[in-house]
């Protein structure tokens, strides 16, 4: 099947935008009338629903931030009462209080529809066996992919995270054709398979990876595709939007954001100005159809850009590029912006070291000091200290060129850096400011 819903997915752009305008207008009226939170926000911004005349008038509306959800913990912004809710998800509160997302039955249906379209665009459907190796539970990844996969008629193996050897056995025994997990977990699974003497390419039917929940790079894609003999696709979402919602299609040129579900903008994180397609900035999303926890101009904090051209696959909905970094993950080292993804990208080009790394930032005297710990590959080990010093010197040089900041490199034993089975935590910041 080419499209899950061809009428919507291939709808001419002008019609799509007309549809978005109508949805936006009714959303704004509804929230202004019934949500104290949005009512106050719009008043503060001096904007009334009557001021929304075109789709581009979305610019007049106030932004919403993660802190708004934390400040209104657990459910003060909800626009549905508890008896209309059918589920809660709770995001990990790594940087503060957790955030709670509630869902009505319609919210769950929209979420599942979004994923059904996305998974179909990867060529998946009836006959596929999809192993869902995202965490099941309060995290949205597991259950989201679970219902999306079932909706398209695929067979789900709900393995959740961990117990990797068993996952590999099941993959062989049940003929898994696609796996949904974090890119770092797939790398880990590949390494464990090698240790078990299992060749993913020859000994399994795996042909598709649905990878997300943490940033990854084009180089990682090429490496995983060659190594494991699969097609690796980016999936995107956050719990505030419902969960994982959008994926790339088989063209692999950015994830399609379904226009009837969400309106995407790219915002300059400093000025709040809307940026044009092709310009990098903060991804900002308005969910056009959401009952329990509406989102208007939600500043997600991910840095990327939009491509609004019609895709070669025929879908007219805008595509968003792979996430380049986080507004709040951005490290400032001696005044220079550094993203962990840049380090990853640079390391991929150095054959002597592995793909796992850890950044340790410290302050030596008045200066920031950045250390990158990276695993020495087995083939590159030399008994001579001078050879090893040469390798660490080479890595330092390449990183300095990529980041424009001086970096110290420490070679560590292969397999010694932590492999996180959930979201990777690759930065240790010891600066006390």
């Amino acid at each position: 099947m080419k499209c899950w819903d061809p009428r919507i997915e291939e709808m001419p752009k002008a019609e799509l935008q007309q549809m978005q305008y109508k949805l936006l207008k009714s959303l704004v009226y509804q929230l202004y009338s019934f949500s104290p939170f949005y009512h106050d926000r719009m008043k503060e911004q001096n904007v009334h629903p009557d001021d929304i005349h075109t789709l581009s008038d979305v610019k007049k509306l106030p932004f919403m931030f993660k802190r708004d959800l934390r400040d209104n913990y657990p459910d003060k912004i909800f626009t549905a009462t508890q008896d209309d809710l059918v589920r809660y998800h709770v995001s990990s509160g790594t940087t503060g209080k957790p955030t709670v997302v509630g869902y009505t039955q319609n919210d769950l249906d929209n979420w599942t529809t979004s994923l059904a379209r996305a998974l179909t665009s990867l060529g998946l459907g009836r006959g596929d066996v999809i192993q869902v190796s995202y965490g099941y539970g309060l995290f949205t990844g597991g259950l989201g992919l679970h219902y999306g996969s079932e909706r398209i008629g695929a067979t789900v193996i709900p393995t959740s995270v961990g117990n990797t050897e068993r996952q590999i056995e099941l993959m062989q025994d049940l003929g898994t054709t696609a796996i949904a997990c974090t890119p770092s977990y797939l790398l880990h699974l590949g390494e464990v398979a090698e240790k078990m003497g299992v060749d993913i390419k020859k000994d399994t039917k795996l042909r598709c990876g649905i990878l997300g929940a943490e940033p990854w790079t084009e180089r990682m894609r090429i490496r995983m595709e060659e190594w494991l003999g699969i097609k690796a696709y980016d999936i995107y979402g956050t719990s505030e939007l419902s969960g994982p919602m959008f994926t790339e299609c088989t063209e692999q040129t950015g994830f399609h954001v379904w226009s009837d579900i969400a309106l995407v903008e790219i915002i300059d994180p400093k000025t709040g100005e809307q940026l044009a397609p092709g310009e990098s900035g903060e991804l900002t999303i308005t969910i056009l159809q959401k009952e329990a926890l509406p989102m208007i101009r939600y500043r997600i904090g991910d840095i990327t850009q939009i491509n609004d051209e019609v895709c070669a696959c025929g879908r007219t909905h805008p595509r968003v590029d792979r996430i380049q970094g986080r507004v709040d993950d951005m490290l400032i080292i001696r005044g220079i912006n550094v993203f962990p993804s840049q380090v990853e990208y640079a390391l991929m080009a150095i054959p002597e070291v592995g793909q796992h790394f850890q950044i340790v930032v410290d302050r030596k005297g008045a200066l920031d000091d950045m250390l990158v710990r990276v695993e020495l590959n087995k083939e590159s080990f030399s008994d001579k200290i001078t050879d090893l010093m040469h390798i660490s010197g080479k890595v330092e040089h390449k990183l300095r060129n990529a980041l424009n900041v001086n970096v110290n490199v420490e070679l560590v034993e292969p397999g010694s850096l932590p492999r996180y089975e959930g979201k990777s935590k690759k930065v240790v910041d010891r600066r006390s400011l």
Partner: protein, 144 residues
């Protein structure tokens, strides 16, 4: 002469510079009943290389690799020294006169006298030069 019999197989292990790494290596070798005849640690910033002469290098390599260590074999040569004052000088002078450049070296003193272990650039050429110059090379079969 058959130079090959004087080529000694040393194991080299990459190790992070933190407490407990040597113990982990030594424990693994002990478990495999591998005896360490001599060893040294070379250190750089953040990491080091543990080099050891053992009685069963293959067994040691296999065990350490299975534990995730980065292990390599390195060819070294062993020269007999007199275990008396001036013993090292005698050998070192011969090597110097023969223009043999030492990359690294370590030594031990056992019941059959003292032994100098050398890592050089061109092993076979060095073996020939050393044996011509009057020093006594030790065959690898003595170790393993």
């Amino acid at each position: 002469m058959d130079v090959k019999k004087y080529v000694v197989k040393q194991i080299s292990v990459f190790s992070e510079n933190r407490p407990g790494r040597l113990a982990a290596i030594a424990h693994a070798l002990g478990e495999e009943k591998v005896n360490i005849l001599a060893f040294s640690i070379a250190e750089a910033s953040g990491f080091g290389v543990v080099r050891a002469l053992v009685d069963h290098p293959e067994k040691a390599h296999k065990k350490l690799t299975s534990l995730g260590f980065n292990v390599a074999f390195t060819e070294v040569i062993a020269v007999h020294m007199k275990d008396i004052p001036g013993g090292l000088y005698e050998v070192a002078k011969i090597l110097g006169d023969a223009k043999i450049n030492i990359e690294y070296s370590y030594a031990y003193s056992g019941k059959d006298g003292a032994v100098l272990i050398l890592r050089v650039d061109h092993v076979e050429e060095a073996i020939e030069k050393i044996s011509k110059s009057g020093a006594t090379l030790i065959e690898s079969s003595v170790f393993h």
